[in-house]
């Protein structure tokens, strides 16, 4: 089964790329952009078919490699 992971910077952690994207959107005439935060999307295709076991495996993957939990949060889909 395929499991999706969304990795985002924790609130309060400086995101200069998000800020730069926000400025670029302003340049393009998109007004009213209050903020942009950039993250990462990762899709893992597992042989495992039990959703609960698959989620637990991916959670472990996030803790060990996919996210740096010092600065990033992660969300797993299906949750």
């Amino acid at each position: 089964m395929k499991v999706k992971v969304l990795v985002t910077l924790k609130p309060g952690v400086l995101d200069p790329q998000g800020t730069a994207i926000g400025h670029a959107l302003g340049t393009l005439g998109f007004d009213g952009v209050r903020g942009v935060r950039q993250g990462k999307f990762i899709e893992v295709d597992l042989a495992e078919t039990d959703p609960e076991t698959a989620r637990a495996t991916v959670r472990s993957m996030c803790e060990k490699l996919l996210a740096n939990t010092v600065i990033e949060n992660y969300a797993i889909d299906p949750a």
Binding site: V13, P16, Q17, V70
Partner: protein
């Protein structure tokens, strides 16, 4: 002093540090490929600068889980000296051997120039040939040199004397203007709890000989030779 340099795919300062170590210690460094699982008998392991694994996922993230790092961690836990330069510092944080993380530079630029860092302590195997407050001119060359840790971690690091170097101006003043990349509290170099592991963002191996345009990095290696030989 015997030393080993770990070589990851994408390391590009491995030869620079090997040449420096041989010049300074008289003993050639052993080059250890990332797929090895054991370290040779050495007094110092260096994680060199570069772009290991093309900086995929996050700088240092893939290298931190490569086979050799298990051995490096195990030996470091027993007190083996480990020096991580630039990408090596990123690998040390990703491997959990140093706290915090190195993030994209504040201004999103790759910064490649000589900067100055202030020595925060001379009480370590890496800095005993410096004096506190010495201003060390060294080049930086990175995109992800912006050190971050939460306030509680930073306070612990400060009180334990684990901050090795801070970005400063030519007179040694630690100011926001002297901070090239947004590093929190101007941190440029950091020790582990036992001060046997150092992560340093600039490149001391590029300034150990007058021919290279500077010698401010030499004392770091002389400190190690004095402490470990």
């Amino acid at each position: 002093m015997k030393s080993a340099v770990i070589v990851f795919p994408g390391s590009n300062c491995d030869r620079d540090i090997a040449v420096a170590l041989e010049d300074i210690t008289g003993t050639p460094a052993k080059m250890v490929w990332h797929r090895e699982t054991e370290l040779p008998e050495v007094d110092l392991v260096v994680l060199p600068g570069g772009f290991s694994y093309g900086d995929y996922l996050r700088s240092g993230a893939m290298a931190a889980v490569s086979p050799i790092m298990r051995a490096v961690k195990a030996e470091a836990d027993k007190g083996l000296a480990v020096l991580g330069i630039c990408n090596g510092f990123q690998i040390l944080t990703e491997a959990g051997m140093l706290p915090g993380a190195l993030m994209r530079n504040r201004d999103l630029k790759f910064i490649n120039r000589v900067i100055t860092t202030r020595v925060e302590t001379s009480q370590s195997i890496f800095t005993n040939k410096y004096a506190v407050g010495d201003v060390v001119a060294v080049p930086i060359a990175n995109s992800d040199g912006n050190y971050f840790a939460d306030e509680a971690t930073l306070d612990t690091l400060e009180s334990a004397g684990q901050i090795a170097f801070r970005y400063c101006d030519a007179e040694g003043r630690v100011t926001p203007e002297a901070n090239p990349n947004g590093s929190i509290r101007n941190i440029a170099g950091l020790f582990n709890k036992t001060k046997t592991v150092l992560g340093y963002m600039p490149h001391p191996e590029r300034v150990y000989d007058p021919l290279l345009g500077g010698t401010d990095g030499l004392r770091l290696f002389q400190s190690l030779v004095g402490a470990l030989s």
